[in-house]
């Protein structure tokens, strides 16, 4: 964490006893004094990782709403698929209108598949793609951006040239070609494939953030103390970039959602899994949903599912910024009175696209 923070348990609690047994002043301390019990450590971790972020999160409506929606998708993709039967043809009557029977609350397709079931069972793969794509894109971007920005010089030039080259490849056509050649069916692989050159732009902007951070006094102090580069990156630089990275993680996730839906819609990705994009494709092509007005629901529901998850990711991205902003967090968690500037609460990190 940022050295400006007032909390943290890394410094041993030095007890400067005023007098020693012989009455003289000493800086020595008892071992017992610095021992932190497991309980305390756990409590600190809890504070750090859950309590404080939670406090900040619940204070912000965006995080709450975004989180709840996303939680809904998580539940749908984990518990929902266990309890709700998977879509198969002729599981219910054909072409049932939505909201007319509990057998198929959102209606059914021309081949008798339950629309709700299709939406629910497309969720796990979508979440896997999101995580795979998000982690891959932000992971690579962070690594490349921080190393390039911090090391500078030749390494910087080499890495920057490489990511510039990657950035100059048109993303979508590249993905299409790769999808056709490799025909991936594993959602984790698809997620990575979709963000195959998404990291480049993000890496660039992380690099520029690092360029400013590397001159910060606490980084300089670490350097002077001979701390290794890797440790500086890990302890000083990356934690300060976390808000930025997480916001962009959410954006990468949103990108994965839209791209995968688009490619499934176009029939580029193999149709081996359920996907909302596939549903749109089938609704448009097979059911003629744009022409036959009565079939419009086949387009609307998967679209709502896509919009819902995208909206939750946007809200989370905005909300997370505040969760990771140490100053806001400290104040809201009630540990510092030093920050009283209300304006700070309004600030949020710009989203990088």
């Amino acid at each position: 964490m940022k050295p400006t923070e007032t909390d943290g348990g890394e410094q041993p609690s030095i007890v400067a006893t005023a007098t020693d047994e012989d009455g003289s002043f000493s800086f020595e301390y008892d071992d017992d004094d610095i021992e932190i019990t497991h309980r305390e450590r756990a409590r600190e971790l809890f504070d750090e990782l859950i309590y404080k972020p939670a406090i900040v999160a619940v204070k912000d409506r965006r995080t709450v709403i975004g989180g709840l929606i996303f939680l809904g998708y998580l539940l749908m993709g984990s518990v929902g698929v266990l309890f709700y039967p998977a879509p198969t043809s002729n599981q219910v009557d054909r072409s049932i209108a939505p909201f007319s029977t509990m057998d198929a609350p959102l209606g059914s397709t021309a081949i008798g598949e339950d629309v709700l079931s299709m939406i629910i069972h497309a969720t796990p793969e979508m979440l896997q793609m999101i995580f795979a794509g998000g982690i891959f894109a932000t992971g690579i971007a962070t690594l490349i951006g921080t190393v390039a920005g911090y090391k500078g010089g030749r390494i910087d030039r080499a890495i920057t040239s490489f990511s510039d080259a990657a950035m100059s490849i048109p993303g979508l056509p590249l993905i299409m070609v790769l999808a056709v050649v490799f025909r991936p069916s594993n959602p984790w692989v698809i997620g990575v494939l979709l963000t195959i050159n998404y990291w480049a732009g993000l890496g660039r902007s992380i690099r520029s953030q690092v360029l400013t951070l590397r001159e910060a006094p606490y980084v300089e102090a670490s350097r002077t103390m001979g701390v290794s580069t890797w440790r500086i990156l890990r302890k000083d630089i990356i934690p300060n970039l976390m808000p930025f990275i997480l916001v962009n993680f959410a954006n990468a996730a949103r990108y994965v959602v839209f791209t995968s839906v688009g490619l499934y819609y176009l029939g580029i990705l193999p149709t081996s899994v359920e996907n909302w994009g596939l549903q749109l494709d089938v609704a448009y092509k097979n059911a003629g949903a744009l022409v036959a007005d009565g079939n419009l629901y086949l387009l609307v529901f998967p679209m709502v599912a896509i919009m819902g998850i995208a909206l939750s990711l946007i809200l989370l991205a905005q909300g997370l910024d505040r969760v990771f902003n140490p100053r806001v967090r400290t104040r809201l968690a009630g540990e510092s009175e030093s920050i009283t500037d209300d304006a700070d609460e309004q600030r949020s990190t710009e989203l990088i696209h």
């Binding site: 198969t88 043809s89 081949i111 299409m176 149709t271 448009y284 022409v291 009565g294």
Partner: protein, 601 residues
């Protein structure tokens, strides 16, 4: 996409040109950007169907790229060529009659067949249509492996207006009629195409290559319309006054507007932008949304969705597995899922189209297995599999070595109706315990590599030969057993070497239930081709149908009706629904010639 419009003129199998029927092209990447509605503009001034005396139809290929060399499968025109060129004869699917047209008369005499060219017919440049023109075109077919190449020795222009076929041996009358006359158009004028024939004589490979690469972009019309202009959006044809039937046509222009996919055609019909659409699959919901003035004309396709197993595959090559698949598939459910209005259930899985099954095997239906047309006959499937050494393990069927029976069905992407059918079948097979799955591929990839190179365990494909030949059992049986018209290298033992077989024997249980029947289908088909007395024809047909029913070289699932739409009220008058003349394919290009499609606006 529109289901393929099977063109039977050319089967360039020699040169790996297996039926690249353009109408069926899958979505190209380039076309993806604008799927919703590609054509809001256009030259149609008024909002309603057609302006002035102009008939507006559709094409799903970019007009400026079209070419009319039927021997070149690339960007070949599909519908407009039926307007620009005259058909040999008008074959009526409804009545089964052949009505002379560009070929006004024909006669069959055992080992020869004579065609008489219509007397007053001219090309658009004023030249008479001669026997030389017809012979040139048919001889090119002979060189490129057209279906009649197998039994034809020579084709000659024996007089100014007479073309004579000489066959290798005696031939029944039906085969040349269906094969040579029924689906052919007069499109290769000797002055333009004769040079290729010479070239092929000199150097076959180079000549064939030149022919199949020739882009005939300014064709000389034999039909009543000629090309006026073409651009990205439309192909404009104007009426030829010197065509013998131009007096029947009371409108001046014929326009083919470009719509890149079915949905944009649906939109155009819905908005009454066009006057007719051909060979367009539309589900009942979609048809419902069209304005009432459109009449739907349905013609039997003698073609339809089936599964083509690779007979070299470990499991698909096993008759028991094929039979189990056929038992498990509930054909009626598939048809109803796809479109009960435009698809039908074949009563018996055999190499004969549904409408002709009663006629040919009606007396033997007790013996034939229908494999459960309207149910999943899982009991029978279980029996047949268990008898062959398969067993169910953890709900999955495994063979005697413990390998799971996987059924990965490869299908063309973007073929709406087929994709629905495959999905249904995958579900049916999966619930029975087969590890079934589907994978869609671009149609071009299928025809170029997957099918000819046997890169499939099982794939979707037409189990019949298509109208009109497919109507006649010789052709449909030939398609299933020996040489399918789509280039599936399915490695069936009895098949031709170009289809992965060696024209070998097939052994099936005897039809009367005692013993076995071993025959060589290709030999029996040759006998069928020359048979002239009815009892022999029936005997061989039943025997071969029995082989297809027992051995299932292909797995029939459904049969289609071709759907065309014509503006029947408003500005156009057409025959009433049910009229016989609607049994002639492509009514929007045929009816104007007879004066039955008239502009009344």
């Amino acid at each position: 996409m529109v289901e393929t419009d099977a063109s039977r003129h050319m089967q360039l199998n020699r040169r790996r040109f297996i039926e690249l029927s353009g109408a069926a092209g899958a979505i190209s990447l380039a076309g993806c950007a604008d799927l919703v509605n590609n054509d809001g503009s256009g030259t149609d001034g008024g909002g309603g169907g057609g302006s002035g005396s102009r008939h507006i139809s559709m094409t799903n290929k970019i007009p400026s790229e079209l070419q009319w060399n039927n021997s070149n499968p690339s960007t070949r025109a599909e519908i407009s060529r039926r307007a620009i060129f005259d058909r040999f004869v008008a074959y009526n699917i409804k009545t089964g009659e052949f009505e002379g047209y560009a070929i006004s008369d024909w006669s069959h005499d055992g080992s020869s067949f004579e065609l008489t060219v219509r007397e007053d017919l001219t090309w658009e440049n004023g030249d008479d249509v001669t026997a030389e023109d017809v012979a040139t075109q048919l001889n090119l077919g002979l060189k490129t492996g057209a279906s009649y190449a197998g039994y034809t020795e020579s084709i000659e222009a024996s007089s100014e207006k007479t073309v004579t076929f000489t066959f290798n041996s005696e031939l029944g009358e039906q085969i040349p009629k269906y094969d040579i006359l029924a689906a052919r158009y007069l499109h290769q004028k000797a002055s333009e195409f004769g040079k290729f024939l010479d070239q092929i004589e000199e150097d076959e490979e180079a000549g064939l290559q030149a022919l199949t690469e020739f882009a005939y972009s300014e064709p000389i019309a034999s039909g009543p319309w000629t090309i006026e202009s073409k651009d990205q959006q439309q192909l404009l044809l104007t009426k030829r006054d010197d065509h013998p039937d131009s007096g029947n046509i009371n409108f001046d222009e014929y326009v083919f507007k470009y719509y890149e996919d079915n949905n944009s055609v649906y939109q155009a019909l819905k908005n009454d932008e066009i006057d007719s659409a051909f060979n367009l699959y539309a589900s009942p919901d979609v048809v419902e949304s069209f304005p009432e003035n459109f009449m739907q004309v349905q013609t039997p396709g003698a073609w339809g969705y089936g599964l083509i197993p690779n007979h070299d595959h470990q499991h698909m090559g096993d008759r028991a597995v094929r039979q189990a698949i056929q038992y498990v598939i509930n054909r009626k459910q598939v048809v109803e899922n796809v479109s009960a209005a435009s698809k039908s259930v074949p009563p018996y899985p055999v190499g004969i189209p549904s409408s002709k099954q009663e006629q040919w095997i009606g007396d033997h239906t007790d013996a034939f297995d229908d494999y459960g047309a309207d149910s999943s006959a899982t009991d029978k499937a279980t029996t047949v599999l268990e008898d062959a050494g398969y067993a169910q393990q953890d709900e999955n069927w495994v063979d005697s070595d413990g390998n799971v029976v996987e059924i990965p069905i490869i299908e063309p992407s973007g073929w709406n109706d087929w994709n629905d059918a495959t999905k249904t079948i995958v579900d049916q097979l999966s619930s029975f315990g087969f590890a079934a799955s589907s994978e869609s591929r671009d149609y071009g990839t299928l025809t170029d590599t997957v099918w000819p190179n046997s890169e499939f365990a099982i794939t979707t494909g037409g189990w019949l030969d298509g109208v009109p030949q497919g109507i006649y059992p010789y052709f449909s049986l030939h398609h299933q057993l020996v040489k399918n018209s789509r280039g599936f290298s399915y490695n069936y033992a009895a098949a031709d070497t170009t289809r992965g077989g060696d024209r070998g024997e097939v052994t099936v249980p005897a039809m009367d239930g005692s013993g076995e029947l071993t025959i060589t289908p290709s030999d029996r088909l040759d006998e069928l081709a020359v048979a002239s007395d009815e009892s022999t024809v029936t005997e061989i047909t039943v025997e071969l149908a029995w082989v297809t029913n027992q051995d299932l070289p292909m797995v029939p699932v459904m049969e289609k009706m071709g759907q065309s739409f014509i503006d029947a009220q408003g500005e156009w008058s057409v025959p009433e629904e049910g009229t016989d003349s609607l049994g002639i394919r492509y009514p929007n290009t045929w009816l104007p010639r007879t004066g039955e499609l008239e502009y009344t606006g």
